[in-house]
Symmetry: C2
């Protein structure tokens, strides 16, 4: 019986994880849960799963939740809150496997502590690798426990890598390069000249996946693929020039690995997050599921080289991946601020990479030694990005003139 902690239990990945746990009651049990502000769903999950510990964001919510669990005859469930509460959930001694699925930098500390506590961690939180990848993978390596990617691309890479061997240091060997597939987003065929007038509505209309707003915009700018390049570099110990992106509009093939002998392995499956979750939870085993892709219905797959000139965010991500440290933090923080400003119609679509590049240029190189340092630099980069947004807004941008 694998005892699971879910960081971000009320979010999309958290709920999918609980759905997987529900399908295999003889294999998995919910040990601990960390939610945020959605205390109604946190209560419901606590009642259903009877975890040892449940954590919510605020102290007052924790008090209310504690009272309601007592009233429901479950006083033994420990209710905690805040950052310390999430760490408690992540490092509980009766946890074997931690699903790290809190969106944003607030998931960083608890994930790092889980790794440090020797837990096997399934990573669905992008920031863990993008802004603190060097720290977290180094700690995971010290602990000798795997970091298992729970997103379709890196999970696909993880599966394909099994076609080769690891070196003595348990690092990827025999690999020439990693190919991440990208849907190309809604503007794959839009001319560069029209990028300045792209509206929020157009950018939110992603062709393949239904996702949150920030990740949808990040998919439209290809920044999301850029983040994935950085994640792949950190997770699989690859230099950026050996992690490449290929546009594949159907998003059927989730990613590929090219080995040194010239053989390439590609992975595909239904586009259902329960599959990478199940893979991570059972690794190195595979167990039967009903999440089937019909190979007989494959039909047509298309592939194109990405247009780096049209999608400067992808180029910026490569630059940040190469520089490492502070630059990936600046990249992520500036993107989050710039995307929020675009969604609020304060800057144009083509301002997003401009703001990011300005923040990156203004951020001095630094090697980060702790999650605390990461978070400080993240805050600084956000402030810088907000200033850049304000400057750009005062200059005016075509999108605001139109809208």
């Amino acid at each position: 019986m694998k005892r699971i902690a879910i960081l971000g239990s009320t979010g999309s990945i958290g709920r999918s994880t609980l759905s997987v746990v529900e399908s295999y009651p003889d294999r998995f049990e919910v040990a601990t849960l960390a939610a945020g502000k959605n205390t109604e769903l946190a209560l419901e999950q606590a009642l259903r799963w009877k975890p040892r510990v449940v954590s919510v964001a605020d102290e007052s919510d924790a008090d209310a939740l504690r009272a309601r669990l007592r009233a429901a005859g479950l006083p033994e469930i420990e209710v905690v809150h805040g950052a310390a509460g999430t760490v408690r959930v992540a490092t509980h001694p009766e946890v074997d496997f931690v699903v790290s699925a809190i969106v944003g930098v607030s998931g960083l500390e608890a994930t790092y502590e889980a790794v440090k506590a020797g837990k096997t961690v399934g990573l669905a939180n992008k920031e863990c690798l993008v802004v603190a990848g060097e720290l977290i993978t180094a700690e995971s390596h010290r602990q000798g426990k795997p970091l298992l990617p729970i997103d379709s691309e890196h999970n696909a890479v993880h599966q394909c890598l099994r076609g080769g061997r690891l070196d003595e240091d348990e690092k990827v060997d025999e690999v020439d390069r990693i190919w991440l597939t990208a849907s190309g987003g809604p503007f794959l065929k839009t001319p560069k000249s029209e990028f300045a007038s792209i509206t929020v509505e157009q950018a939110l209309n992603h062709p393949t996946w239904k996702m949150g707003k920030r990740i949808t915009i990040d998919s439209a700018t290809l920044m999301n693929k850029g983040f994935e390049v950085i994640e792949a570099c950190r997770l699989f110990h690859m230099p950026p020039e050996r992690v490449q992106v290929i546009v594949h509009p159907q998003s059927t093939i989730h990613s590929m690995v090219e080995f040194v002998d010239g053989s390439i392995l590609a992975q595909f499956s239904v586009t259902d997050m329960r599959l990478p979750i199940l893979y991570a939870l059972t690794y190195p085993e595979r167990i039967p599921s009903d999440l089937r892709f019909s190979v007989m219905d494959l039909r047509h797959l298309d592939f194109y080289p990405p247009d780096m000139a049209k999608f400067p965010c992808l180029r910026l991500a490569y630059e940040a991946a190469t520089a490492g440290g502070a630059q990936t933090i600046a990249l992520n923080a500036a993107d989050e601020v710039a995307v929020a400003a675009f969604l609020e119609r304060r800057v144009g679509f083509d301002d997003i990479p401009r703001i990011i590049e300005q923040v990156m240029t203004a951020t001095p190189a630094a090697h980060l030694e702790s999650i605390h340092e990461v978070l400080v630099l993240d805050t600084e980069a956000r402030l810088l990005a907000s200033e850049m947004v304000e400057q750009r807004r005062q200059k005016g941008s075509p999108i605001r003139a139109i809208s």
Copy 2:
């Protein structure tokens, strides 16, 4: 240093193997060579590679070769001949790895003896698995040495299977099914009604690969894919219903494995036989090669379900795979005879499956206990097939009426 025996050194796979050996002189050496009637090339190879033993088909050719090697100052090279000679080459004590690449049933005995002598065997000979797969895989399992497939489809499957685990018995586990890709041959879009009038010239015009005549016709009837289904069943211990065929005209993806969890791995690479040879020779290691596929040039891949009604040879192969034993021998022998008759314009293209089905129906079920029994049954099936050809020829077929 891996010491290699090549059975069929003057054929296409044999020459490709020597080209691989030539590229990695610090890894591989040629220990022994078995050729057939092409004694000029056998001499050239013996002079170049200085093997311990070289074998040719006929005694008189062996005498001549021995004299020429002595004259060239290489009297230490042992020259042998015939079936016993090939066995000597395959089982020589200074051989680590045997490449089994003799076309037809004449490669059977030596390959079986190599497995029995505990050699690691790379299989390029289709008959070993189609007509004697049960015997050879059982012996390989007893010896605990791998049988490594040297053809693009099974080699691809072997690579994809690494994404799952083997059971305690070293047999494939965690696999739902194997997907063999088929180019579909030149008649993918030809209506069934025109099959009777297909000419030899049309059938020899294969869209993707340039190969020998029999295998080209077998590709046009999809019998070649049928043989591969049987090979996959034997090699990977899978029932026929879990080995499926999907038409993929570009032949880019060489095959796929669908795991029980719903994940699918696919393999692709340049269409160069040196790649599966290199893979087999270095397994479980991969070493760098310049045999590269450009992922950026993937472009378009198409997939269609196969039409079993239009290609009855594929259906017959599944029936033979299910029945096993004598039926796969009948299938292979009848196909070889029927294809030869078609190439001689003695029967029509659509007579090929008719003749095979007649021979299969006339062949009683039998469990074969030895390679000798296999060869006896093979001879009987060929005689039966020749009779069927003669009957059909006397009845007359549309193709002869036209040509």
